[in-house]
């Protein structure tokens, strides 16, 4: 990897006339940490999206089909998710997870996935429940399709919120890069790389969700 990094530095200087510093890629341990960070980031995005979907469907189902006392409790729970700041919920998750078990990278990852999923799922679940109430004869899947735009918006929000998991010690890409470049002079380039990585990730998720949403709408139309 060190040889390739040196070759890239030389090529950029020779062909493009720009000097780039790829010192990070010349150390095996740093490269390993970077790949681990990318792995954690991808796991976070996938986990946060799955958790958001699960919370949204679960809360919406209970709010629309459960017995009245349970509906009230779930309504209050979803209000809590809708009106609490994500950073505060993340720290709350950190305190609770730290109280239950030995805090580590994977534990932080699970805590972050649950919190981000709950925060976004509460909002999306409320939208599905509203869509269900507006048309009483509608099937639950029909309500999910009708609230598709909101569900997609909160899935995108979950992806956008995933780097914030670094606040509670998840060793994802941003956290790893921040640590590795702590003494680097070229921090602007480091953060520009991060910005491109995360924005690209969000754009990829948006494209994927647009396809899924179209397929769901098609399926609901065919079944009705």
């Amino acid at each position: 990897m060190a040889a390739q990094a040196t070759w890239l530095e030389d090529a950029a200087a020779e062909w493009l006339g720009i000097r780039i510093n790829l010192t990070l890629l010349k150390h095996e341990s740093a490269v390993r940490l970077l790949f681990e960070g990318v792995g954690y980031s991808l796991a976070l995005v996938v986990g946060a999206m799955l958790a958001t979907t699960a919370f949204a469907l679960g809360l919406a189902w209970l709010m629309s089909h459960g017995p009245r006392p349970l509906r009230r409790c779930i309504g209050l729970l979803s209000m809590l998710g809708q009106t609490s700041p994500l950073p505060l919920l993340l720290f709350f998750g950190y305190v609770v997870a730290g109280g239950i078990t030995q805090y580590s990278g994977p534990v932080a990852l699970i805590a972050a996935v649950v919190v981000i999923g709950f925060y976004n799922g509460a909002n999306a679940g409320r939208a599905i429940d509203d869509a269900y109430r507006v048309a009483p004869g509608r099937s639950f899947l029909g309500a999910v399709s009708a609230a598709g735009i909101q569900l997609v918006a909160f899935l995108i929000n979950a992806t956008k919120g995933s780097p914030a998991a670094g606040m509670i010690g998840v060793p994802e890409f941003l956290n790893v890069m921040t640590d590795l470049s702590a003494y680097s002079r070229d921090r602007v380039a480091v953060y520009l790389t991060l910005l491109v990585f995360y924005t690209g990730l969000v754009l990829a998720v948006i494209a994927l969700l647009a396809r899924l949403e179209a397929r769901l709408a098609e399926h609901v139309q065919r079944t009705q």
Partner: protein, 206 residues
């Protein structure tokens, strides 16, 4: 615990004022940059080919990462907001990226309604703006990661002083309760405003 809460609550309120400051700053920048973008799209539709991909990119950029990027751009010796402003400036600028995209999109919709002579629907821009501001207040807690003394950061500092896990959880429950009360009241007021506007529209259209 009661003693802890007694001296903590004024700190929480002071921290919350910082959250409001962030939202106010981001809203001001969002209006100044976002409205001309919406106007440009309305007046010169072809400009949308350049402006709209930029707005989409601004919407896709995670605020938390933008905050670190802005922080790396700002000079370390920047003196703002009484001397410790670099973190605060980074949070405001990061949030203003989101707010600019939000204003540009909602502002454009309001202009379309105005062109169709639907002033009541165009006025929905105001409650939407309030909603966007609430989102910024809620996510301004990201500033805790770069040492901004806002409500979440103040809460974390207080929690670190407490030894028992139960006391920490209780502290968080109190703070979450505070936010739930503030934001559910604000959401209810916005909902009332929207209903009032829609009732007015129905009265006008008969």
């Amino acid at each position: 615990m009661i003693d802890t809460l007694r001296h903590f609550l004024p700190q929480l309120l002071a921290g919350f004022l910082v959250n409001l400051q962030v939202a106010g700053g981001a809203l001001a920048i969002g209006l100044v940059v976002g409205m001309p973008l919406a106007l440009l799209r309305q007046v010169a539709p072809r400009s949308g080919r350049i402006v709209w991909p930029c707005v989409r990119l601004m919407q896709a950029a995670p605020v938390y990462v933008v905050m670190f990027f802005v922080l790396s751009l700002l000079p370390r010796d920047l003196m703002l907001f009484g001397g410790h402003g670099i973190g605060l400036a980074a949070v405001i600028l990061a949030q203003s990226v989101y707010m600019t995209a939000y204003v540009a999109e909602n502002g454009y919709r309001a202009l379309v309604h105005l062109r169709r002579e639907e002033p009541e629907l165009a006025l929905l821009f105001l409650p939407n703006l309030l909603r966007g501001t609430l989102v910024v207040v809620m996510s301004s807690g990201f500033g805790a990661a770069i040492g901004v003394s806002e409500a979440v950061s103040v809460t974390m500092r207080e929690a670190e002083k407490l030894h028992a896990a139960g006391d920490r959880v209780l502290l968080f429950v109190v703070v979450i309760g505070f936010f739930v009360a503030v934001f559910s009241t604000a959401n209810a007021l916005i909902g009332r405003l929207v209903r009032h506007m829609m009732a007015k529209k129905l009265a006008v259209t008969g």
